[in-house]
C-alpha cells in the first residue's frame, strides 16, 4: 500500500520529456541530484526550487511525449515527487515511470488546480485519488499484468532481480 499526501503541481497538455529535463542538460551529467535543479526549466525556471517532497505532478493529455529518455522519470523522483497524474501518457514515459517506481496514474485531471491537496492511496485493489478542495474521490483500477508486477516490485531492477526474466501473464 502506497500513501501519498501532497500538493498538486499543475501542468498542461503535451508536456514533452525535453521540458521535464532538457537533452542539453543531460549531456553534462546523469546525476539526478544535480539535474533536478533544472526540472521543467524550459517552462518555468523557478519551478525546481519551488518543489517540495511529496508534490504530485498533474498534467493534461500526452504527458511525457517526445524523447524516450529515462532521466525524465528519474529526475522527477529525485525531486521528491512520487506520483504523476495525467489524462493520458506517452507510452515510453509511462514505461519509464513504472520501471523506476514512479507511480503513473491515468485519470481525469481537469478539475485539479495548482496547489490542491491530494491524497493518493495505491494498493492491490486499485488507486484512489482524493482532492481535498473539491471532495472528489476518483478510483482507478490496479495496473495489472507485467506492468503491475514491475510497479509492485518497486521497479524493473527489483523485478528482474527477483524473477530473472519477464514472466508472461497471459491475456489481460
Amino acid at each position: 500500500m502506497t500513501e501519498i499526501i501532497g500538493r498538486a503541481r499543475r501542468l498542461g497538455d503535451d508536456i514533452n520529456t525535453d521540458y521535464i529535463i532538457s537533452s542539453a542538460r543531460k549531456k553534462t551529467t546523469l546525476d539526478e541530484q544535480i539535474l533536478k535543479q533544472y526540472l521543467l526549466e524550459s517552462l518555468d525556471p523557478a519551478f525546481a526550487s519551488s518543489v517540495r517532497a511529496g508534490d504530485v505532478l498533474v498534467a493534461g493529455k500526452n504527458l511525457g511525449c517526445g524523447s524516450a529518455m529515462e532521466v525524465a522519470a528519474t529526475v522527477i523522483l529525485a525531486a521528491g515527487i512520487r506520483a504523476v497524474l495525467a489524462t493520458s501518457f506517452a507510452r515510453s514515459f509511462y514505461r519509464n515511470a513504472i520501471n523506476n517506481g514512479l507511480l503513473p496514474i491515468e485519470c481525469d485531471t481537469t478539475e485539479i488546480l495548482e496547489g490542491d491537496a491530494l491524497m493518493i492511496t495505491a494498493g492491490p485493489d486499485g488507486t484512489s485519488i482524493t482532492n481535498e478542495r473539491t471532495g472528489r474521490c476518483e478510483i482507478r483500477p490496479p495496473l495489472g499484468g507485467i506492468a503491475g508486477a514491475i510497479l509492485d516490485a518497486g521497479g524493473l531492477v527489483a523485478y528482474l532481480r527477483r524473477e530473472g526474466r519477464f514472466v508472461p501473464l497471459g491475456r489481460t
Binding site: 525535453d18 549531456k27 500526452n62 532481480r161 514472466v167 489481460t172
Partner: protein, 423 residues
C-alpha cells in the same frame, strides 16, 4: 475434407495486422491487439545518450559478472555527442559505452558513423518482420523496412540486453492510406507533417500505424523512413510499411481507424513553434525571418534530402542570405561519402554552409551548432519543442529540405516551388 480443413484453418487464424503477425512470431503464440506478450527481440539498439544509463541498470539487474544475453543482437551508436562537446562528460559516456561493449562483445558504431537507426538500415541489419527496440524514440524509423521497431527507455533496453526479451502490449492498428500522385515540390516531410497535424500529438498513442495504398509503392526508401520516423510525433508505437518479401496484413485485419490522406493536392508544410503538430501550409508562414537553417537529422539528412536542398540553392543562385547560418549535418558517414562523391557537400561548402560530422548534430542541443538568443531556426528535424536545440529563446520551425534551402537563400521562410533561376 479439404473444405473442412480450410474452415479449421480460418477458425484458428483470425486475420491479423502486420503488428500482430510480427509480435505473434516473436512471442511464440497467436497474439492480438490488447494482449500483453513477452517477445524475443531481434535487435537491441542503444546510443551514447541512452546506453550509459542502460549499462547502470544492466549491472544492477544482473549483478556482478552479468552477461549480455546475445551480443550479436545488441549494438550501440555514438551519435548524439558527435564529437564530444565542451563538457568532459560526453567523452566519459563514450568511454563507458566502448568499455562495456568490448567486455561484452557488443558492436559499437563510432563517433561520426551516423545516427543509430540510419546505420542499421544502411548496412542491411534491419530485415522485414524483425522486432527492434531502441533507446531512442525515433527507432520507429525502421518500420519503413517492415520491422516492428519501437523506442524504449534505458531500463527496458537493459532488460532486453540481459534477457533477450521485452514485454509489449500488442497495439491496435491505424491504417494510413496514401492516395493520389505526389505533386512536384512536395516532399515526404510535407506529407508526414500533414499526417501528424491530422492525428495530433497523441492521435496514434499506443497504436501501430500501417502505411498502405497504391501511392505507398511510389515512395523511395528515404521517403518511407521519413514518414515512419515522424509518426512518433503523433505517439505511434510503430509505423510499418508493407514491403516485398515482408509481412503483410491479412484481408479483414482489424484496424481501429482508417486515415485516408489525399496527397495529390498537398502543398509544402511548416510546423510552427513549439510542437511538431502545429502545422500550417507554408503560405501561412512565408516571410518569417530566419537566422539559422539546419539541414540534417533522421528526417532531413539523407542523400536525397541534401540533393533536394542543393538543387533549390543552386536554382536560386547559390548565395546564402546575409545573416543566415546554414548548418549541414549528413545523417551518416555513408551518406556523407555519397554526397562528397557527387559534389553535393563540396557545393554546399562553397556556398558557405557549415558542414558538421554525421550524427544527430544540432537537433537536440547535444552537439553541433546551438542557436544564439533570439535566433529563429528553420530545420529539417522532427522536433521543435521550446529549447529543443539548447536555447529556449530560439524558436524552431520545421520544414522539408527544399523549404529550408529556399529560406537559406532569402533569409525568410519561402515556398521552395517559387524559387526561380536568378539573374
Amino acid at each position: 475434407m479439404a473444405f473442412r480443413a480450410a474452415r479449421t484453418q480460418l477458425y484458428r487464424m483470425p486475420p491479423q495486422t502486420i503488428a500482430e503477425k510480427i509480435l505473434s512470431a516473436k512471442c511464440g503464440r497467436l497474439a492480438h491487439a490488447g494482449d500483453v506478450v513477452v517477445c524475443d527481440v531481434d535487435l537491441v539498439l542503444g546510443t551514447d545518450a541512452s546506453a550509459p544509463m542502460a549499462i547502470g541498470y544492466f549491472e544492477r539487474m544482473g549483478g556482478p559478472g552479468a552477461r549480455v544475453h546475445d551480443p550479436s543482437r545488441v549494438a550501440f551508436a555514438l551519435d548524439h555527442y558527435t564529437p564530444q562537446s565542451e563538457s568532459e562528460s560526453t567523452a566519459k559516456f563514450h568511454a563507458q559505452v566502448r568499455a562495456f561493449a568490448r567486455e561484452q562483445g557488443v558492436r559499437v558504431f563510432e563517433v561520426g558513423e551516423g545516427i543509430s537507426h540510419q546505420i542499421i538500415v544502411e548496412r542491411g541489419i534491419v530485415r522485414p518482420g524483425q522486432l527492434i527496440v531502441g533507446a531512442d524514440s525515433h527507432t520507429v524509423t525502421c518500420g519503413a523496412l517492415n520491422a516492428f521497431a519501437t523506442g524504449v527507455g534505458s531500463s527496458d533496453l537493459a532488460a532486453a540486453m540481459l534477457t533477450g526479451q521485452l514485454w509489449l502490449r500488442v497495439p491496435e492498428t491505424m491504417r494510413v492510406t496514401l492516395r493520389g500522385d505526389r505533386p512536384a515540390g512536395v516532399a515526404a516531410k510535407d506529407i508526414a507533417l500533414a499526417i501528424v497535424a491530422m492525428l495530433g500529438g497523441d492521435g496514434a498513442e499506443y497504436h501501430a500505424i500501417e502505411f498502405v495504398g497504391p501511392a505507398a509503392d511510389s515512395f523511395s526508401r528515404d521517403d518511407r523512413l521519413v514518414l515512419s520516423n515522424l509518426m512518433v510525433e503523433a505517439g505511434a508505437k510503430a509505423a510499418i510499411w508493407e514491403v516485398a518479401g515482408g509481412v503483410f496484413a491479412d484481408a479483414g485485419a482489424r484496424c481501429v481507424r482508417e486515415l485516408v490522406v489525399g496527397i495529390d493536392r498537398l502543398t509544402p508544410r511548416v510546423a510552427l513553434p513549439h510542437a511538431p503538430k502545429n502545422v500550417v501550409a507554408i503560405a501561412d508562414a512565408v516571410g518569417t525571418p530566419v537566422q539559422m537553417v539546419f539541414l540534417g537529422t533522421c528526417t532531413g539528412g539523407r542523400a536525397s534530402d541534401l540533393r533536394d536542398a542543393r538543387a533549390i540553392l543552386e536554382r536560386g543562385g547559390g548565395r546564402i542570405a546575409d545573416g543566415v547560418t546554414l548548418v549541414v549535418t549528413p545523417v551518416s558517414s555513408d551518406v556523407a561519402r555519397q554526397l562528397e562523391a557527387d559534389g553535393t557537400l563540396p557545393a554546399l561548402a562553397r556556398m558557405g554552409a557549415v558542414i558538421t560530422a554525421p550524427g544527430c548534430g544540432a537537433c537536440c542541443g547535444t552537439s553541433g551548432v546551438i542557436p544564439d538568443d533570439g535566433m529563429t531556426v528553420l530545420s529539417t528535424a522532427n522536433r521543435n519543442f521550446k529549447a529543443r536545440m539548447g536555447n529556449a529563446s530560439a524558436p524552431i520551425y520545421l520544414a522539408s529540405p527544399a523549404a529550408c534551402a529556399a529560406a537559406a537563400l532569402s533569409g525568410a521562410i519561402a515556398d521552395p516551388r517559387t524559387v526561380r533561376a536568378g539573374p
